[in-house]
């Protein structure tokens, strides 16, 4: 019964994160590359309810299937997306496991920042060698601070709805 429950949650989280990823990629943004990162809500929830393996599975599937739908598989933007997702998932897991005084808001902010900093490092050292890191970093760090706290607040709302119905929890 427990594993059936887990499979159900895993599939719902994966489906919702893929569709959020695709839908929010279609909206134009003022700064190129800045998105809300709503799919991160479900990666964070998967880290809490299901575990690291499942969260990485959701992240990989989100990047691959989402890029396939948007016709950008194996382009630079796909590489940005997948590497940022993997690194931020791993760092968020470390923070959840360590007993630092972070709530979901802080974990989500750290996830968003590691996501964007990974992408900035990739951009500066591999794809656009000539752009100064410190010249473009502040805009992206500030915007990911805002989107990260928004995503953290949303995660907290969804978490408090699910919490009572699902009794496996990493914490």
């Amino acid at each position: 019964m427990q594993s059936l429950n887990k499979i159900a949650y895993l599939s719902v989280f994966t489906a919702v994160s893929i569709s959020l990823f695709v839908v929010e990629s279609l909206f134009p943004t003022p700064i190129p590359g800045v998105r809300l990162g709503l799919a991160n809500i479900f990666i964070l929830l998967a880290l809490i309810f299901l575990g690291l393996k499942e969260a990485i599975f959701i992240g990989l599937l989100k990047s691959i299937v989402g890029s396939l739908i948007l016709a950008r598989l194996f382009t630079p933007s796909f590489i940005f997306s997948i590497s940022g997702t993997l690194v931020s998932t791993f760092i968020m897991w470390i923070i959840i496991k360590s007993h630092l005084p972070f709530s979901l808001l802080g974990i989500s902010i750290v996830g968003a920042e590691t996501h964007v900093i990974t992408q900035l490092f990739l951009a500066v050292f591999i794809f656009l060698p000539g752009v100064s890191f410190f010249y473009i970093a502040p805009i992206y760090i500030l915007s990911s601070l805002i989107t990260g706290s928004l995503v953290g607040a949303l995660t907290y709302l969804i978490f408090s709805k699910i919490k009572g119905r699902y009794n496996f929890c990493l914490f």
């Binding site: 005084p101 972070f102 709530s103 979901l104 410190f134 010249y135 760090i141 907290y156 929890c169 914490f171």
Partner: protein, 120 residues
């Protein structure tokens, strides 16, 4: 029951991490540049040190543009392009800063001490 206190909406670490990143944004080192690189049509034409006052005529695609270096800052003084966006950018002085004049194909970029892959 199960460590409910971990899921209060806001904890001390959150505030600390927000303050840390805000400090990081505002006190990020913006280094003073060392060299000015002026290129026309993607080929490097001139490299000048920033600390010598100088006026340079750059022959762009549609005409000569006058570039001024003074007190560690650079600007395009006048340019034959129609919209004058490059002139309105004004002075630049920090590493990684740049002025781009699209119709005239002139790019002025400031580099630090170390050269990167493009300038080599």
């Amino acid at each position: 029951m199960r460590q409910e206190s971990r899921f209060r909406p806001l904890k001390i670490g959150d505030i600390l991490i927000i303050i840390f990143f805000l400090f990081f944004i505002f006190f990020l080192p913006k280094k003073q540049g060392e060299k000015v690189i002026i290129s026309v049509d993607k080929t490097i034409n001139f490299v000048y040190p920033l600390n010598q006052n100088k006026e340079i005529i750059v022959n762009g695609k549609i005409g000569p543009a006058k570039v001024e270096i003074r007190d560690g800052k650079v600007r395009i003084l006048n340019s034959p392009c129609p919209l004058k966006i490059c002139e309105n950018k004004g002075w630049i002085s920090k590493k990684g800063d740049f002025i781009i004049c699209v119709p005239n194909r002139v790019i002025i970029k400031i580099e630090g001490r170390k050269y990167d892959a493009i300038t080599e």
